[in-house]
Symmetry: D3
Subunit: 247 residues, 6 copies
């Protein structure tokens, strides 16, 4: 199967890192390709960044359909554009936040989230409520590091994430920690070793869920709410979405 | 005060109609201007349409800031891009779905929604849950008319909406009906007369809520979650959002 | 329009203060009159005080109907007698707690409440749950001042309210603060200046919501749950409510 | 022990009937006295009726304290004035709606309610949500009979209640039915025989819960939210509540 | 009536203690017998202990049916095997956790739980959610004592429980405390004296609820979900459950 | 990896069928073994059947630990003994109900369940609430066939399941159907062909989730709630669980 990992931001180094993390965890028969939109923000740290990135995600799904991709991952912890992406394909589409939440509930009764900036905590809270996991999550914590510090100041950023994870372990009464940023995909092992608790990371979790769905022959339902969008004119810079002819 | 009504789709006739409905209801001191993005879908009937339109909404907020707009309305029932829009301004931003829900709970204990297409019902359900109004809404109903039929086949579309509203009145045990599409803004009076129940329409409700917030000196909080986005590079067709310098 | 602000307690100085706060915020075309029941408690700080005051609220609605009032505000943070009051009139009736909650959710994702006495916190919690705003409110805080201290020891009471608001700002991860007592209506400006966060006060919020509903031609639904009460005999000191002939 | 059953409406024949039902079910050591306020509505079928009756309930608690009553029952299905009543005494106070809900969840996983008028259904819904039983109740049904028809047209009213109970039994997937009116207290046996399902009636349920609490030495907590109200002046017809000196 | 108290663990000294506590609180006409399964764990401190003990509970219900028992109590705070037990009898079956929760909500608006080991807190949380009491409980606290320490180190265990109860009283904003272990049944008085707050203990609460249901003529509904299990073969050590012929 | 599928009932033909369905879907590197307890019910159709089967599940986990199993599936739709099983091992343990729910939410916004007997619907409802998926499930439906009819009257049972699935498809506004019984594991393909909607079956879903967790290096957390049970004496027929020495 061909698995496409979409990094919704435009930072190629992060795309590469995420793609490598995905490849390492992928099953032998899974071919992983990692992309990011040509247009969009270099990192996603607000509702606004999310909203803009959702268009890039849609573009990448369109590109993936041409490449006959079998499953997609949206590799940003806010799952930007997830339902829109699902409408555009019969293939499964997995967000890394939902992937991590699902997996965390399978190995623990309660978990906490450690994310980057405090201001993105509300995004996680909204997802927890919408997905149904609010009562499984004890606390949303932030290490207060900008996303790109994970690229540029790896060591120092890692220290802060580990410190926050330890506080979660000691104070929250939890069984597992969910890492709240796609940019932490390559840090999971080190964090796990330092914290001594199951650490659930979304990119890797999503790879496995995508493989699971493809293995089951399950894709996004085209019956009802997630059916292909009705073809219609789009104007201006989005004219490329006009009269989508998908099936 | 200057109130900007943003129609997130690109159908100018609907923008005009919505703007007129807003103007009619506006207080004497309120100047209403209605716009729509240059780029985007002609109607919004899916998660995908919503996601694309959110960028146009952001553009219109940016334009509004240059025009020193005092308050914004997002005139599509899914409230696309609402939180992103709020991050971009100190002014209040109101979605027409939330506006209608708030108003409906002030005059009744339970309401139903009558929207256009059944497939958009899930969008209303998600908003009800996120805003906290799920238990106030008895049922989300669809007249099963495409949005633009409200433009092109007004009479027939109106008949179907009225018929569905009457079913809601007779079967749902409700005190009010929320109209689930910005394109119904000019039909409220006729529907009210035909149904005999308070009919809450979002565009007009949002005008009044926007005036209320401005009157109170309240705007979007810049403390915490809805602070201005951190300035950063955007690439490609979204380069215009780079290094936003807002205050 | 004629807006009647009902202070459910019998402290005339507070009625005056609330009425002045309402008048200051009212639109030019809005005539504000403030009243309080002749019978009832001097302040409302318990379920019992609330229950007794609800009769006075009903009396004031009855008086308002004779005066052809266009909209009512119940100016006590527990919204005492709100649904009963709605049954007695076609006009809109707004509680100041609900008004503040609605407005706070339009400008922030999460808010805290700062109220007077800790024992009244449960009243706010019950309202948050019933209205649907429980997950929008991070914390209900009390400055531990009796309501009438806001009259009698203004400066010291103000200091305590400001101190508690600052704690909310610094500890709760919020975007706005809701003031939890009608008696704080004249303090909003000072608190806002001292705290530096949007401060939502219920009396002023309710004035604007009442104007909004009247502007929309929306009043309390007489279809279903909030229809006029069935006329019937009342005995004893409540004989005045017998055979209400309302329409 | 001395158990006081307070019928919140002023219809003496109903008070008598309720008192007899309570006496029949009471344990040998329980002395039952039934009262109703001198002032208030003859029946309770709206939020307004409820609000007015709450004052009468408070008066009856005050009278009960003078009579050294050991436990109170509020015998109207909306539990009017329940929390206010609890503040006025160290004795336990039980509402018949809550009593019935508690008992129903102990003998079934899901129940339905059969009440009098459809418009009072919202009161039951609010109580279910506040008490935490919303997901245990499948449906709130109304026989559409005014409360006093249970007095005046017993046979015909009984027929309608039984018919609605049978529909609940056959359509709702339930294990028990809760009767939604104190006026049905004497009909329980006949309904049970006709319907063939456990029928939970609130007055009798409350008698047993009150005996249970007294037997346990448990009364209303005076720590925190339900402590005695702060003594204060009341004016006008409620002057009798001034400077309550309770302990 | 004959009330059977089932201690789900096999520690006879605890069974005796629980039985005595039940007898002391029982009404004159109530005959209490206390039993425990012949097979099972000596204490219940995990999901696993609970699961195993549920079989013993079922055995004890079967034995009780032969003894024509009128009501059952499951005297472990996790209410192990409660719904299974209900299926096996027409008599009422009460768990001590649910009993304590119900009683606590009748005398306070909010309570906290003080249990034995922190790891069993999740069991209480699951029950609170399932029963509908989650929002009535402020906090689940643990004294961090193994269950059998209540037998073997009574004084020291009591000290720790009292200390935790005092913290709950001072920090949680509550009106009552629920004791979270059947083994605390004999300590209630001492704890109450030391803490000065209503203390709700499950065994005694359940006795009174069982008497209440029997007094009402209410037993487990055999309509729907809790009907007798369909008779069927059981193999191996559970062959004794084969072809149950219950009515 | 070695995956152990535990059929909690003792019907060997169903164990075989479930094992074959698991094997067919398993990845090349996954060795599937299917077992059932020696002791227990031949089918699971009630809370009682569930409770008894949980002991057998625990035994099978113990046996699996001796066989160095890498992951476990509990192949009954009520997920009997799931949390107990997790306490007994570091390996992941997946229930087929939770597996199906998780997968269904990844490919649709709303689903319905089609189970065997109506009386087991409550078990599914409880799981939906506990796991957090209640608002994702539109309706729990029953084909009203005993579990073993899936063995003995395959064709007729299949017809009934298909008929109920079609009703779900046409009436419920859903995107996917969850099959509510492990005994339907071999029917998925036929049902999918007949219904034309994604059909999510729990055994196969759980196989893929188990492979996913093992692939991620994630097992049941031993930190906190799901740590190994404290070793202690068990008496009688459960003496084999005494002093468990697990690590």
């Amino acid at each position: 199967m061909h698995l496409r990992v979409i990094n919704p931001n435009t930072t190629a180094s992060m795309t590469r890192k995420i793609g490598e993390a995905a490849s390492r965890i992928a099953a032998p028969g899974t071919q992983v390709s990692a992309t990011n939109p040509a247009s969009g923000p270099v990192s996603i740290e607000s509702h606004f960044d999310e909203a803009v990135s959702a268009v890039g995600v849609a573009d990448e799904i369109r590109a993936g359909e041409r490449d006959q991709v079998d499953a997609y991952i949206i590799a940003c912890f806010g799952d930007p554009g997830l339902l829109a992406a699902r409408e555009l394909t019969r293939a499964p589409v997995i967000g890394i936040a939902e992937a991590a939440f699902h997996m965390a509930t399978l190995i623990s009764t309660r978990f906490s989230i450690v994310t980057t900036l405090g201001r993105t905590g509300i995004i996680a809270e909204h997802l927890l409520q919408s997905y149904g996991f609010a009562h499984h999550c004890r606390r949303v914590r932030a290490a207060e590091i900008p996303v790109l510090d994970l690229e540029d100041n790896g060591a120092s950023a890692l220290d802060r994430v580990i410190a926050e994870c330890r506080r979660a372990r000691d104070e929250d009464g939890i069984g597992a920690i969910v890492l709240g940023c796609g940019g932490m995909a390559d840090l999971t092992g080190e964090i796990r070793d330092a914290v001594g608790l199951p650490i659930v990371e979304g990119v890797t979790a999503a790879v496995k869920l995508a493989e699971a769905l493809v293995g089951l022959g399950l894709g996004t339902s085209k019956h009802g709410d997630l059916a292909f969008p009705r073809p219609k004119p789009f104007s201006g810079e989005f004219e490329r979405f006009s009269h989508l002819n998908i099936d």
